[in-house]
């Protein structure tokens, strides 16, 4: 692993305070060293686009919830894909919804993965572990 990638953040787009906290705790237990940036709604998530264009490092992966206040996750995904800077950004949809409609739409906007958030905390920990292992360690992100 290259040192540059250790400093690249994970962007967590999640409106639920408890989910944010539990996710952070799960990552903390995994001793994840990458910083985790939080966007609490769709607008905050989209506000990252100009910052990335201004030269801030792209996240290794975006963990995107679909149900967000103001601007929903699918719209955020669409705009990420429309922007040159984030067109190839790995986006993992992490949501409670198992609806076919959402799955189809997410992949339609070129989500890289779709993961249903488990209620059971042990399983949730498992998911967090897998995400970190795969996207932060195994996966080779675009530059």
């Amino acid at each position: 692993m290259k040192t540059g990638e250790l400093s690249r953040p994970i962007l967590l787009v999640e409106d639920n305070q408890m989910d944010v906290d539990l996710t952070l705790r799960a990552f903390a237990r995994r001793k994840l060293i990458n910083p985790v940036e939080i966007a609490r709604d769709g607008e905050e998530a989209l506000a990252w686009i100009p910052r990335w264009e201004a030269g801030e490092p792209l996240p290794l992966v975006v963990l995107l919830d679909l149900k967000l206040p103001r601007i929903d996750g699918l719209e955020v995904l669409r705009q990420y894909r429309a922007a040159r800077v984030s067109r190839t950004l790995p986006v993992v949809v992490l949501t409670s919804s198992k609806e076919d409609k959402d799955i189809v739409a997410a992949y339609g906007y070129h989500a890289n993965s779709y993961i249903v958030k488990p209620v059971d905390f042990d399983k949730f920990m498992e998911v967090a572990t897998q995400i970190e292992l795969y996207w932060c360690l195994l996966n080779q992100p675009p530059r």
Binding site: M18, D19, S96, S97, E99, D100, K117, P118, F124
Partner: protein, 631 residues
């Protein structure tokens, strides 16, 4: 002889000669002794074709060929013997071939014997006679062979009847003679018939024509028609005439009358009137129903194009008039229009008018049109009502559709909320309970740990409930894709999923399916059904030693019957319908945990795939779930 006497004698003789010359008959006197002509009157000269001067004193045989042959002496002898001879013979003179009657007698005058011949031209008489004979013969043939009955009646009796008449009545010719007319007539018609046989003098010139029922010899009756007239026969009135059997004509008349009556009744029943329009004058004859429909008295109602148009609704006039014109001019093949007519009382009635040109002149111009008028007001009202109903129905369907779409939208939103917003807090409860257990484990005694375990169990149940509810709503909303599915493969798939659980229980899972059995179903739908049924079977037979599961199937007609059988606790059939209802548990939740949605999902999925499901069971003896799906 005195002179005066002599003069008087001369005058008489001259008068006699003149008289003889005036006669149309010829007189010739011939001296028997020498056969010379001593006298011939004017007519004789004409016959013998010679002037009197050359005749007198000449031998007769020079002028009559027949006498030459016989020879004069034998002629004289013959005449003397028979005294008077009359014969007819032919004679050719300038008038052509004549027929003459010759009468010869021998007389004595003074010392000489004379033969005097009187010759009369009987050509005309003979011709008239022959004509009479011939014409009577012809008439007899005509009458005897006539195919109408011919009769002559006097004093109420048949004086003459031709063979056809006799045959019509069934009698021999002779039997008809002098037969009383009363025997040949229907009793009810007799008075009328007899009245015609005894006319008053003033009625003699009348022609008789009437019908009556004739009586056949065998007692049956048949209709006849008489054409007759009166004659005077031997000073007494008689009737002659012809009699026609009109049985066939009557039949046709009756048939025609019946058919007209039927047509009339049909039109009446169908509330139809007819019209017969003279297109040149615009005048129309119409039926009583036609007037009736419009509320007028049929007796006084008259119709023409002008009043017809005046009664028509202005809106309809604009449509009908061009069509009427176009049809009359032959531009359109059919005339069938609907229009409103104002009735006498001022109401509007819808009329269906169908017409047809029945007569055209040599230039092809329409002269006459026949057609019907039908009151279709009721139908129009019904149509309007139907149209209104349809519009209302469409509006209502649209409204309902919108409501349904809104409801569906709400359901989706609800589902989304359930899946997202209800699950998030659960995740929080479970997460923090877990963190509490792990991070504060030194401060928690075993009872506290039990509490936390129970909290987490509650969360798990709640989560399962949400998942099942979502699954159920998904079954309802998801688009189906009906395809041919290999049943054995699908079951194998389910069996693999359950492999560990089945092994842990030591359960037997047998599959008995016909080779290559397929059903038409949605793959995910059928998968969910089978998964739920197998889950169900495992759950309720887990205490059997060992649990035995059997999945089977067979073709039944156009369908496939599948079953999932277990040897578990079974259920009482009185609860059959309840086991498929949502949130229904027959057993205590702590004994057989579950959401109570599984079989509801199964039934819903089967319904959506056009299949059926039911179960058979006896408590304690296992249960069998049956599925029927199209092949």
């Amino acid at each position: 002889m005195k002179r005066a006497q002599q003069d008087q004698y001369k005058v008489s003789l001259s008068l006699l000669r003149d008289l003889l010359d005036q006669s149309g008959d010829a007189f010739i006197a011939v001296r028997a002794q020498d056969g010379r002509i001593t006298y011939a009157n004017e007519q004789a000269c004409l016959y013998l074709d010679a002037p009197r001067e050359t005749l007198t004193g000449q031998p007769i045989i020079n002028f009559v060929e027949a006498l030459q042959k016989a020879g004069w002496p034998s002629v004289v002898e013959e005449c003397r013997r028979v005294k008077r001879t009359v014969f007819e013979t032919g004679l050719a003179n300038r008038d052509g071939e004549r027929l003459i009657e010759v009468s010869i007698c021998s007389i004595e005058s003074g010392n000489d014997d004379y033969l005097v011949a009187t010759v009369r031209d009987i050509t005309d008489r003979k011709w008239t006679e022959s004509v009479l004979v011939n014409s009577e013969h012809r008439f007899r043939i005509l009458v005897e062979h006539s195919l109408v009955g011919v009769y002559l009646i006097q004093h109420g009796n048949m004086i003459y009847a031709n063979p056809h008449l006799a045959q019509l009545f069934g009698y021999e010719n002779e039997a008809m003679m002098n037969k009383p007319v009363a025997e040949l007539v229907h009793p009810d018609d007799l008075a009328e018939v007899m009245a015609t046989l005894y006319p008053r003098e003033s009625e003699y010139s009348l022609k008789i024509r009437y019908e009556f029922r004739a009586r056949h010899k065998n007692g049956s009756f048949f209709p006849v028609e008489i054409y007759g007239s009166y004659i005077d026969l031997d000073g007494e009135p008689a009737t002659i005439g012809t009699l026609l059997d009109i049985t066939e004509r009557k039949k046709v008349e009756i048939a025609l009358r019946e058919s007209e009556e039927r047509l009339r009744l049909t039109l009446k029943a169908a509330q139809q009137g007819w019209y017969d329009l003279n297109i040149k004058t615009g005048e129309a004859k119409v039926s009583a129903e036609y007037a009736d429909i419009l509320g007028y008295q049929p007796e006084t109602f008259t119709e023409n194009v002008e009043s017809w148009l005046a009664r028509m609704h202005p809106e309809d006039r604009e449509v009908v008039m061009p069509l009427f014109q176009a049809y009359i001019e032959g531009k359109i093949p059919e005339y069938r229009v609907e229009f409103r007519q104002q009735t006498r009382s001022g109401h509007w009635k819808w009329i269906l008018s169908i017409g047809s040109i029945v007569e055209r002149n040599e230039q092809g111009e329409a002269l006459r049109m026949l057609g019907t008028h039908r009151d279709i007001t009721q139908r129009k009202k019904a149509e309007q009502a139907v149209r209104k109903l349809n519009e209302e129905l469409e509006a209502r369907v649209l409204e309902r559709t919108q409501q349904l779409q809104a409801a569906n939208q709400e359901l989706e939103t609800f589902t989304y909320t359930v899946s997202h917003d209800l699950k998030a807090p659960l995740r929080g409860i479970d997460g923090y309970s877990r963190l509490l257990q792990e991070d504060c484990k030194d401060n928690l005694d075993s009872e506290c740990n039990l509490f936390i375990d129970n909290i987490r169990r509650g969360v798990r149940q709640m989560s399962e409930l949400i998942e099942d509810l979502l699954a159920y709503s998904r079954v309802e909303r998801r688009a189906l894709k009906l395809v041919q599915i290999q049943v054995a493969k699908l079951i194998e798939h389910v069996k693999l999923e359950k492999k560990e659980e089945l092994e842990a229980l030591g359960a037997a899972f047998t599959v008995n399916l016909p080779e290559g059995l397929t059903v038409k179903a949605d793959f995910n739908g059928l998968m969910m059904v089978m998964r739920n049924l197998v889950d169900n079977a495992v759950k309720f037979s887990r205490d059997s030693k060992p649990p035995i599961l059997d999945v089977g199937g067979r073709v039944e007609g156009q369908s496939c019957l599948l079953w999932v059988r277990d040897n578990g606790i079974g259920f009482d059939m009185k609860f059959h319908d309840r086991i498929f209802d949502i949130f229904q548990h027959l057993e205590r939740a702590e004994d057989y945990p579950g959401t109570g949605i599984g079989l509801t999902i199964v039934r819903k999925a089967m319904q959506r795939m056009g299949g059926r499901i039911w179960a058979e069971s006896v408590p304690g003896q296992g249960a069998t779930f049956y599925l029927v799906l199209p092949l």
